[in-house]
């Protein structure tokens, strides 16, 4: 039986698939450099998030923007990346619609490389976004007690969490007919996730049924874990909860997305 690519050795196949994924991953990273509005958006996004939440809401929420800065920044970082993951599904849908995936499919490359490449490229973007946000946070005097180690651990955890969320939007991106369809569907899931959480306020202040949702919401778990890691407090329970959530989301959505992908690109 003929192999599906022209590389004979098995190990060679896996290496080739990885190399192809990385080549495709460059697409979304290179856009940051070459597409002006993406460059501007990439730099402005963290600035706007911090300005909005810390300076606009800070005094009202905590009486003092510095106190609120220390409370809200970990959540803002989580939220920024969570909201960005939608872009993975949108870009994927656009590529499918434009026939770019047909081009990839007529190349002698691994079937999974286009999908894996898109997700890997976006993860690099999220990482860079977090780096910019860290710089902005440092510039306004945020000095987390967790130190460099805490910041690195928090960043890594956010990326793991984002990786799992990507597959939800990937599934939508594969199923929806148009990018605006993805957007509409995603908003239904995304807003309760991003805002029905401990990102901006303490969940104790919420009415009962909202508190129950916010308590189980994976974004709350991720936010609490990042908060703990940054403040140098014991974070075991929160980190474990976030990883568990990530694993659960992956376990459900990765196979669904993979199946939808096989169906759509056969």
């Amino acid at each position: 039986m003929m192999q599906d690519t022209d590389t004979p050795a098995r190990g060679g196949l896996a290496r080739a698939a990885l190399r192809q994924s990385l080549t495709l991953a460059r697409r979304s990273v290179s856009r940051l450099r070459t597409v002006p509005e993406e460059t501007v958006g990439f730099v402005l996004q963290p600035l706007i998030y911090v300005t909005l939440f810390v300076f606009v809401m800070g005094e009202a929420m905590a009486g003092d923007w510095r106190t609120y800065r220390d409370f809200a920044l970990p959540g803002i970082a989580v939220q920024m990346v969570v909201l960005s993951t939608l872009g993975t599904g949108l870009a994927l849908n656009t590529d499918l619609e434009k026939g770019l995936f047909d081009r990839f499919r007529t190349l002698p490359i691994s079937r999974t490389a286009p999908l894996l490449g898109a997700v890997l490229g976006d993860l690099v973007r999220y990482g860079l976004s977090l780096a910019v946000m860290t710089a902005v946070a440092a510039a306004i005097g945020f000095r987390p007690a967790g130190g460099v180690q805490g910041v690195a651990a928090a960043g890594a955890l956010i990326l793991v969490f984002a990786f799992s969320l990507c597959w939800i939007w990937t599934l939508l991106g594969l199923k929806a007919r148009t990018p605006s369809g993805v957007q509409t569907l995603a908003t239904v899931f995304l807003f309760p996730l991003a805002f029905g959480s401990s990102v901006l306020v303490d969940t104790d202040d919420m009415p009962g049924w909202v508190r129950i949702w916010a308590g189980v919401n994976p974004v709350t778990w991720a936010t609490d874990a990042v908060r703990a890691l940054l403040s140098g407090a014991p974070a075991g329970r929160e980190v474990a909860g976030t990883l568990l959530w990530s694993a659960a989301i992956l376990a459900v959505f990765l196979p669904l997305a993979a199946r939808a992908y096989r169906r759509r690109v056969r």
């Binding site: 599906d4 192809q20 697409r27 434009k98 081009r103 499919r105 007529t106």
Partner: protein, 330 residues
Amino acid sequence: MPSVADRAAPAIVADGLVKRFGGALALDGVSLAAPEGSVLCLLGPNGAGKTTVVRTLTTLLPPDSGRASVAGYDVVREAGRVRAAIGVTGQFTAVDDLMTGTQNLVMVARLGGFSRQAARSRAAELLDLLGLSEAAGRLVRTYSGGMRRRLDLAACLVRRPRVLFLDEPTTGLDPRSRGELWSLVLDVVAKGTTVLLTTQYLEEADRLADDVVVLDRGRVVVTGPPRQLKQRVGGHRVEFHPPDRSRADAVARAATALTGRPAAADGDVVRMNLDEAAAFPDVARRLMDAGLVVGEISLGYPSLDEVFLALTGRPRAGALAEGAADDAGH
């Protein structure tokens, strides 16, 4: 006249391809062949099954029954080998708007196994070949329609494919860009590549193809070289526009006498068919020598509607509905 298909080993063979989408029969037993180094043209209206044939031959769509091979490999069982031997442009240009021309080609080359260095030089070479060097560093979204098509073609050529598939490569292009693309395709063929292209224009088939397959509702209506097809359809359309109506009949009579082909006056226009475009200047000159002022003259190809009427004895599917829609639009 023997078809080119008889003369050399086939690079593309399809035998009895059938494809159903739900209840609709998209391909109803399509068979065709293209020898190595030739140009095969699929001619047909929207919905005839042209794109389905291309998608099947390029491994994107498995047929329900029938078989096909490209470059000697079966498109279902040896899909990987087929992919290694082909280049494909779809109806919609599959280039990334948010990358530059160079980045697009380097990406495709890297995916094709080129080293970074080799990918860069291959990209530069192709951009130069297709006249895109000046735009190489610009984002593709700033390209014109013709430039996008050329970049799309370049992306197909990166790995020096043995067989090239072009699905309606000139649809939506202005006449100049269309002419540029035609000469690019002929260059590629001159280097030994086999090309299968789909089109809705008889002129395009005539300019490029060694063999034409006319498709209608998923079936092959006729196969043969363009010359044969043109003869069956009545060749080129010639129109004379004498300066006034009263001369039309005289021009028609003289043209009939000169060519032995019927010419008919319709109001102030005289229409006739010529098998060979080369006969056209001669006819025009002899009319003028005879002292007839023929006024404006034009030479054209039969439309797809005329082709279908001539070949099938009925208007092509959908032509009436489209006509009605056009009328409503005006």
